[in-house]
Amino acid sequence: MARLVFLGRLEDLAGTAEMAVTPGPLDQVLAALPRDLAVALLDDRVRLALNGQILAESGGIALGAGDELAFLPPVSGG
C-alpha cells in the first residue's frame, strides 16, 4: 500500500490525517477519493511532498508501495 497525508484544513476535509491507498498513478488514486476532497487536493496552492521531498510539479506522479505523499496547503501566518 501507499499512504496519503493531509495537512492543515485538508485533514478536516478528508476526515483523517492519513489514508492508505492502492499504489498507482496519482490521477487514478485521486479518482477513487470523494470528489470535493480530490478537487481541494489539486488546488494550485497545495504543495505535494513525496517521502518528505517537495515536488516541483504533480504531473505524472505514480505512487509505489510504501510511498508517502503529503498534501501541504498554504501555511498559517504569524
Binding site: 495537512l7 492543515g8 518528505g52 517537495i54 501541504l72 498554504p74 501555511v75 501566518g77 504569524g78
Partner: protein
Amino acid sequence: MVIDVRLADGPFDPAAELARFTAAVPAAGGIVSFLGKVRGDAGVLALEIRHYAPMTLPGFRALADTAARRWPLDGLLLLHRVGEMGPDAPIVLVAAASRHRRVAFAATDFVMDHLKGDSWLWKRERTAAGWRWIEPRDEDHGDRARWG
C-alpha cells in the same frame, strides 16, 4: 557553536530553556531572545499547531543553519511547540548568542521573520465561535523580503 533546534509536543518552560542555552555559550557577551506565546486576553481558548514531521524539523534546522552561516554566532536556539495549547502557553522561543549585540538581534529577528511564513506549520484557534484556521498573511512576505 551550539545549534539547538527542537519541536516540543508538550509545554516547555522558556525561562529554564533560556537559562540552559545561556549556560552553554559562555563566550557570548550578548543573548537576544524572542518568546511568542498564546495571548491571554484575546478570546482565544485554544490554539492547535499541526506539523508534518518529515519536513517541519528539517525546515527549522535549515533555517538555523542559514542564520549560523550568515552571522558570527556562538549559539542559536529554536524551540517550537506543536499540538494543542491554551492561553498564555509558550509557542516559540528563539535565542541567538554572540559576542556582538547587533549580530544577536539580527539573527533572532531573521529567524522569526522566516519562521512566521516559511515554516511547515498549520495553526487553528478556537474562540467562542468555534475553531478557525489561521490563513497565510501577506505581511509575512514583506517580513522575509527585509533580508534580501
